[in-house]
Structure formats: C-alpha cells, structure tokens
C-alpha cells in the first residue's frame, strides 16, 4: 500500500510517502501563495523521485494550516493528531512532542500508544515561532541555519526584553548599533524564543522523553536553551520538519483515506 501525507504549513510544505509502512520519499519546500499548487508540486516531486505516479497512491491525507484548500486529498486530519502519530511511529518511548513551526508552536503530552492527552497551541503570536528568527536573520544579514551555531559561541549574556517580535527587532537594532557581537545578540534572541516556548509547558506537565519537531528543531541554539530549561535531553529525528507529514501518511495507511 502506498500512501502520502501532506503538511501544508504557513511557511513550508512537507510531504512524506509511505510504501508498506516504510518511508520511500519526503520533501520540504516553500509553500508560497497558493496552498494547492504547493501541495501538487511537492507531491509530484517526491513521487517522481520514487518512480511512482499519483494513480498508484492509495490515499492522501493532508494536515497543517493550508489543509482545507487541497483539492486532491482524501481526508483532512489535525496537525496534533498527525504529530502524535508520526512521533510515536519514530520512537514509541516518546511521552511528549514540542513542534516548533514557522508561525505556530504546539506542545503535546502523550500517553500509551501515542495518545494525545493534553496539548497547548500558540498560533496567534509570532513570539516563540520560526518567523521571529527569520525576521532577525534578515535584519542581521545572516542565513537562517547560521543562527543557532553562532548563538552557541556567545560569551556574554544579552537579554532581549520584549516578547513581541516587532519590539524585539528594535532592540536588536539598538544592540547592533552599540556594536554588541552578533553571537551574543543571537544568544539573547534564542533564549527569548525558547522561554516563550517553555512557558507553554506550564499547565501541560511534560515528563519522560520528549521529541522536538518542526523547523526550529534543526536549530542547535534553540535546542540547547530548551534542554537547559527542561534539564533533560530532547530527541530530534533527521528531517524533524516532516514528522506531521509522516503521521498523515500513516493515518492514510490505517484508514485508507476514509
């Protein structure tokens, strides 16, 4: 059985294709302005690479912010469900998931066989999401994937006091004018984002192994800050952005897209 899972995020579109419960292809690409088109392109790219055509796919499940606009999906499922399914498949020991996306953050508490018993969501405020880093990367003239490693080289504590990305941008500009080293500014920035994410754990009460997913899970600076606050190591898979898409593909396999 061949199934596909599509996670249409506000910034990135992720695809995972499964054949008999094994991942045979995945992709991460920019969503852009047209969700349906992004989905079509991403899926055909992965299928092409695997030598499969759309007719061979038994079921397509879609999730993410843009899921309502995908004309060719058999079924829509919430990203919380898909994340839990994907995380559990990758590691059945997981008792929590921190999904750090481009414009939203989710914290999931799992029990038993990947059952979501509680979760917290922020999709209203850019603080604590990937777009914060993106905005500052542009401001400071850095590449997104340089930010984390550079922040870890920091030798001095710099605090970004504003939670709001817009106000924080002004603070970063003042720091740059004061010639504060970029690595120290970035350290303060990463701490600010991690704190906002950590504050979501509050009422959830995570314990046991936790998996970090989403684009920010590739950022070593964020991971280091979170691990420091949580006093535990986080589990991060290769391609952490595709966990929800994987979960969607698994759900497609189980339900046949019904």
């Amino acid at each position: 059985m061949i199934t596909a899972g599509l996670d249409i995020g506000s910034l990135m579109t992720k695809v995972a294709v499964l054949k008999d419960n094994e991942v045979i292809g995945y992709d991460v690409s920019v969503t852009g302005d047209n969700n349906n088109r992004a989905a079509e392109l991403a899926l055909s790219k992965v299928l092409g690479q695997a030598g499969i055509c759309l007719e061979d796919v038994d079921a397509v499940v879609v999730t993410g912010a843009g899921k309502d606009e995908i004309s060719f999906a058999n079924r829509k499922v919430t990203d919380v469900e898909c994340l839990a399914r994907g995380a559990f498949f990758l590691d059945p020991d997981m008792r929590g998931v921190i999904d750090m996306g481009g414009q939203s953050t989710r914290v999931l508490k799992l029990e038993g066989k990947g059952l979501v018993v509680d979760f917290a969501l922020n999709d209203k405020c850019a603080s604590g999401t990937g777009i914060f880093l993106d905005a500052i990367a542009k401001l400071m003239g850095l590449e997104l994937d340089e930010m984390g490693p550079l922040s870890l080289e920091s030798t001095k504590n710099v605090t970004i006091t504003s939670t709001c990305v817009v106000f924080a941008e002004s603070e970063v500009i003042s720091q740059v004018h004061r010639q504060t080293p970029k690595k120290d500014i970035l350290n303060g920035l990463h701490k600010s984002i991690a704190t906002r994410i950590y504050n979501m754990f509050g009422r959830i009460g995570l314990d046991g192994q936790v998996m970090a997913t989403g684009g920010l899970a590739k950022n070593t600076g964020i991971l280091a800050c979170l691990e420091d606050m949580m006093q535990t190591n986080l589990t991060v898979q290769n391609n952490p952005q595709t966990v929800a898409a994987l979960g969607a593909a698994l759900i497609a396999a189980k339900t046949g897209g019904q």
């Binding site: 777009i131 905005a135 106000f167």
Partner: protein, 268 residues
C-alpha cells in the same frame, strides 16, 4: 504662571508651554535613541517658539515612557494621568479616553474632574499599537498620513488581516499584494484589525459617552472611523492629538504650584 510639560514617547517627543490657562507653544519631534537628548531638543524648540527660556518656567513636569530621565523636570507623572488631564482640558465632557502611541495603547476612564478612575493598557504587543500602522505603510509603500484615507476607499470592506500579530499580518499582506489585491483593500483589513484590538480594550473598561481619542492614531481616519462605528460613539479629537500628554503634564505643574502657594498662604 508658566509651566512646561514634556512627554517622551517611544516614537515621538512632545513639549508644551502653558501660561496660566493658555497654550503658548508646542512641538512634536521624532524620538531619537536618547530620551534625554529628545527631551532637551523638543523643549528648546518649544521654548524658542514661545520666546522664553528654561528659567522662565515656574514648574516642569515630564511624562511618557522616557519621563524618569529628563534631568530638568521638577516632577514626573504617569502618562495615564496626564492624558486624562489633557483630554479633559480640551473636552470637559471627556469620560473615556483612547490614547494610542507608537508602542502602546491605553483606554482610560476618568471622572468629571479629569481624574483617572480606571485604565487598561497594552504595551507588550505591536498589533495593538501605532507601530502596526507604520509597518503597514512601509510595506504597502504609502505615506502614513495617507493610509487612513486610502483604507476608506476599499470597495468591499477590505480583506481579512490578522489582528493578533503584526508579523503574521505582514506575511498575509505580502500574499495579498502578490495576488493583486488593491492597496486600499489591504489597508482596510489592517485598519479593521487595529480597530478590533482597540475595541477589546474599550470593552474591558466599559467605555462610556464622552469619548476622546488622543495620540498619533487620532490622525488615522481609517481607524478612527471604524472604532466610532464599532463603539457607536463619535470621537472628539483636539487640533493636535499628540500633545495631550504634554498638556496634561503642564496642567499638573500649574496645579501643584497652586497647591503649594495655597499651603504657604495658609501658614502665613
């Protein structure tokens, strides 16, 4: 009696000279990185306009985000109180004041004497402050002063724009512009978003009639019109809404002096 009020906000610095009960001179300038420098510059400009110098001031009150650092102020008073006082001077019937500056927004209830009864404030989130308009103006490439008017030209009430976050709104607007949505439709959405944030604050303090708007936002007809419509009340706006805080500060200066001289007369 001549008093000076200085209001140092995050985006603009204001000063006003009050002689007895008459506004002699005032000025609004953009706040630089140094609050003291901003305060000094705007004060000097205002004094020059009035043909006076600092020594002529009987009392100086500072207010606003940078109030504590103004070295030549005799006293600093919160901007909440100063805005209520200033608004009440212009409009004695003022009971609800909406003040929105660059980085914050306050909804204030005051009594018949201009004394603060209640207030709520947002100073944490740019989506509910004037900054959001500045960002939209830059993004859509329209001068800030024209934004409001342009937003009222939208054909169908505009497109939905996030009211919870300027950063998300920014992405949405980019998407709209790429799809060929008109500037007026986009700006209508942005003004609507800000108006809805304002309504949140006004509802929390149970806004009552006698509605005054001060601060830079009062110059944005797009937001003002939408707030008036949602609230069901007309807004009163003075000739220069950005000086309301500095005016209130100057009035407080006068009142403090009057109290002191009353005390002295009693002792004698």
């Amino acid at each position: 009696m001549i008093t000076l009020g200085v209001d140092i906000g995050s985006l603009s610095g204001k000063a006003l000279v009050l002689k007895d009960n008459e506004i002699l001179a005032w000025e609004v300038i953009l706040t630089g990185p140094d609050s003291v420098e901003t305060g000094t510059t705007v004060t000097q400009n205002t004094l020059k306009k009035a043909g006076l110098c600092l020594e002529d001031m009987d009392f100086i009150v500072s207010t606003g985000y940078g109030r504590i650092v103004i070295p030549f102020a005799n006293k600093n008073i919160s901007e909440i109180s100063c805005h209520a006082k200033g608004a009440h001077w212009f409009f004695p019937e003022a009971r609800t004041i909406l003040d929105m500056g660059g980085q914050d927004c306050k909804a204030i209830r005051c009594n018949e004497s201009g004394k603060v009864r209640d207030f709520v404030m947002n100073d944490k989130c740019a989506a509910g402050a004037g900054r959001s308009m500045g960002i939209m103006a830059d993004f859509v490439d329209v001068p800030l002063e024209e934004l409001g008017e342009l937003s009222l030209q939208a054909k169908n009430g505009g497109v939905p724009v996030s009211s919870t976050c300027v950063v998300f709104a920014r992405s949405e607007v980019l998407g709209y512009l790429r799809k060929g949505v008109s500037k007026s439709d986009v700006l209508a959405g942005a003004c609507e978003a800000l108006a809805s944030r304002v309504m949140g604050l006004l509802k929390r303090i149970n806004a009552e009639e006698g509605f005054v708007i001060s601060g830079g936002i009062a110059k944005n007809i797009g937001v003002v019109t939408r707030v008036e419509k949602a609230l069901g009340m007309n807004a009163k706006i003075c000739f220069e809404p950005q000086i309301v805080g500095a005016l209130g500060a100057a009035i407080f200066g006068r009142e403090l002096l009057e109290k002191r001289s009353k005390k002295r007369r009693k002792k004698q």
